[in-house]
Structure formats: C-alpha cells, structure tokens
C-alpha cells in the first residue's frame, strides 16, 4: 500500500521551514556552506542556499559529496557501485558546514559523509539537515534540523522525489 505523505506544496513549506531554522540557529548565514549528499541531498542543498541567499549579499557556497568510496558495506554488496565523484570547490577550513540529505534512516550514510568531509579539511562545525527522518538509527547520529519525522517500520519504503532529479516533488510511504 502506497500513500502520499508530503505533497508538492508541503515539501515547499518544509524546505522554507528548514531554511529559517538553519538561519535562526546560526544567527544569519555568514560563514555557512552547504554540502549535499548525492544524489537528492544536492538539489535540496541548492534550494536551501537559494532561499537563504535572497536579500543577502553573501552567496552561500554549495558543494556535493558522493559517499560511495566511504561506504562501510562495499565488501557486502555484490555489485560494485559506480562512484560519481564529489564536488567541493571551496575551502571548508573554519567554515560551518550544513550537511544536507533528503532522508535519514540508519545514519550510516551520514557517518560516511562525515568521514569524507573531514578528509577535505577541518571545518569549525558540521550540522545536519534532513527533509525526512524515518527513524531506525543504527549509529548515534541525530540531525540538527528535520523537516518531518515519519513513523515507519523497518521494511517500509520511503520514496522521496525532487523535481531536479525526478521531475516531480513529493514523499511517498509504501507499507509491505
């Protein structure tokens, strides 16, 4: 059974809320940089940065990170995942990084992203923003900013669609 949990308008509202939470917590956006986790974290990071750059002189840099080479299950998956490469063309030393992803589940992706980011330099701090938290963490990792928490069972599927990647916006939950 598949149901829509967040529609196009709802997703837009959540992104705006996330943006204002981030700016309130950091008292503005100075010194912030955004890094999206590939793939759907990247368009989200772009949307947040765009929203927060309105009426600002400061343009928030946005980077992308591909965690494939930092996965802890490379030896477990039968197919070697194709790796897309990371794009961080700014210096992250001393900056506040807001790491962005569409979904947090076990926390293992975020763990990999943190390890990879720290190989790029020594940021002042790293914060985590996600659109959806579906629970079931396997590591002690919690996001600082959450759009919406959805109660799920382990075998549920959460599909997040973003216009930039999928041609449409929305979040769906499938129970099995």
């Amino acid at each position: 059974m598949r149901q829509a949990v967040i529609d196009e308008q709802g997703l837009k509202t959540l992104v705006s809320q996330l943006a204002s939470d981030i700016s309130r917590r950091n008292r503005g956006v100075k010194n912030l940089v955004f890094v999206g986790i590939k793939r759907r974290g990247v368009p989200l990071a772009n949307r947040l940065a765009k929203e927060l750059s309105l009426n600002q002189k400061y343009r928030i840099p946005v980077g992308a990170i591909d965690i494939t080479l930092y996965r802890d299950d490379l030896q477990l998956v039968a197919e070697t995942p194709i790796c897309g490469g990371s794009e961080i063309d700014f210096d992250i030393n001393g900056r506040i990084i807001v790491l962005v992803d569409d979904l947090i589940y076990t926390g293992r992706t975020v763990r990999a992203a943190l390890t990879e980011l720290l190989d790029f330099g020594r940021p002042k701090s790293i914060q985590l923003a996600v659109l959806v938290d579906r629970g079931h963490r396997e590591l002690p990792i919690e996001p600082n900013f959450v759009g919406r928490t959805i109660k799920t069972r382990h075998d549920d599927l959460v599909d997040i669609y973003l216009v930039e990647e999928d041609g449409t916006d929305g979040v769906f939950l499938t129970r099995r």
């Binding site: 591909d66 494939t68 080479l69 930092y70 996965r71 490379l74 030896q75 477990l76 998956v77 039968a78 197919e79 070697t80 995942p81 194709i82 790796c83 897309g84 490469g85 990371s86 794009e87 390890t115 990879e116 190989d119 790029f120 330099g121």
Partner: protein
Amino acid sequence: MKPRFKHLLGIELLTRSDIIGILDQTESFLEVLKRPIPVVPALRGKTIVNLFFEPSTRTALSFSLAASRLSAHCVNFSFPSSSVQKGETLLDTARNIEAMRVDGVVVRHSMPGAPHFLARRLKAFVVNAGDGCHEHPTQALLDAFTLRQHLGSLKGKRILFVGDIAHSRVARSNIICFSKLGARVAVCGPPTFLPTDIEKLGCEVFYRLDKILYEVDVVNMLRVQNERTDLSLFPSIREYRALYGLTRERLSKLDKSVLVIHPGPVNWGVEMDFEIAEFPQTLILNQVTNGVAVRMAVLYLLAGGHEET
C-alpha cells in the same frame, strides 16, 4: 556497476561499453586525486600483490600508488627474470600467492599469456600489467582516457602509430582499444617493425612517415626497443630518426591541434627529439597522471564487492 569480467587480461576481451565504463569511473578517481587528502577508504583491508618478472618503473609505481590511494595494502615482488624457469616457477608462484590469501595480483611477465595462466589457477583477481609482446591493457585505457579528455570522443579520429608495432604490447592493446572506441587507426614503420598480419586489426599501413603524418589527429609514438637493435631490424639509429623520428622539423609542420602520446620511457633523440617534451600538444606527463586514476578504477571495479557464492 558489476564488471562483466573478473580479471583484466587484455583489451581484446573487453567490449566497447566495458571500456567506456572503466573510463567513466576513472573520472571520479581523477577527482579523488585532486583532493587535499587524496586517499579514500574504498578498498580497506584488501591486499594486492605486484608481481613483476620484468623491469618497470612507472607501471609498478602507478599500481602501488593506485592501491594505496584506495587504502589497500600493496606488496611488491620482483623476481630476477634471468633465474626464472618460466612455466614451472609461475605455477609455483601461483600456489604461493594462493597460500598467502591475497585479493588481487598485478602481473608483468615476458611470456604472452602468463597472466591468463595465473587467472585460471587463482581465486584472486588478476590484472595484466604487460605480457611479452601481447597486451598491456591499463596502458591502452589510460591512453584512451587521456585522448578522450582532449578530444571528447575518439570516434572518427585518425590515430597513427609510429615505430616498432611488431614487438610492442602497447601498440597491440592501443590499436584494439582505439578501434573499439571508433577511431581510424594507421600504422607506420620500417617493414621489419610491422607484423605481417597487421591489416587484420583493421589498420592502414604506411611505410613513409611524411606521407601520413600530416593527416592525423593523434600520433602515438612507440619506443625503439634498444635491447632489440642488435637483431639488425634497421640499419642505424640515425637513419631511423631521419625516416621515422618525430623531429622538431616534422613537429613544426604539424597542426597545433595534433596530439602526441608515447608510453615511455622515451629514447630522446631516436624516436622523438627532446624539444618535443616542451610542446603543449605533447601529453606524455598527462598520461602518467591519468595512469594512477585508471588503475584505481580498475582495482576498484575488480576488488569492490564480494564474490557471489
């Protein structure tokens, strides 16, 4: 991406899309090499052995670097080639490697087919780093990658090989690779340097360099293998340079968009004049840089993931 192949033994065994898959994967490893810390943990805990029965500097070093940048352990074995009783020792070596439980073996050997022989007997994956006059697949991949960076695609491009085609595994692998990517390949050299059945690889054959040099997009120079000159395959080095060398006079007449590659080591003053190293269209050092990224892609694709049992 699940590679269709378990080993990398030769370009001949790869399809066009296998080759393109490896080249695409190489792009992301080139990005890794530009990072402040150019190391990723992808192959943590894997062990790779460099088994070189023939001398090599850049290939062995390039594979070692590729392995370390993927966080794999790399062990180097080098055997004095003179004392090797080929067939028997190779089998013996294979058994020893098996006993040491390594994940991958990079092998260079003077006997064509040596890596294939090992691949049939080992659980580990095998990468051919040069087997006699047969193949040198990672060289072909890195050359294809380097050319693709500059040309976008090899499709329809004219690529000329100059020199000792008959004894060159690089020529063999590169000709097959570039042809599979859609390039039009021509070869040029003294008749003693051209294999008799070269047309079977789909090449045009030229004996006079000046007749074809100015019509191509890429010149792939080959090393005059000095160790073979005592076989009297050509009268003298001076004559060879005059007829087949990429001299500064010839280069000055070349269009500036024509690219020059060479697998190294170069015999400066024989197949190429030293000044050519300084020309912007010479990509020899780009080839070396890209070599590490290509080998990372190959090791990653072969060592990543587990064996389906």
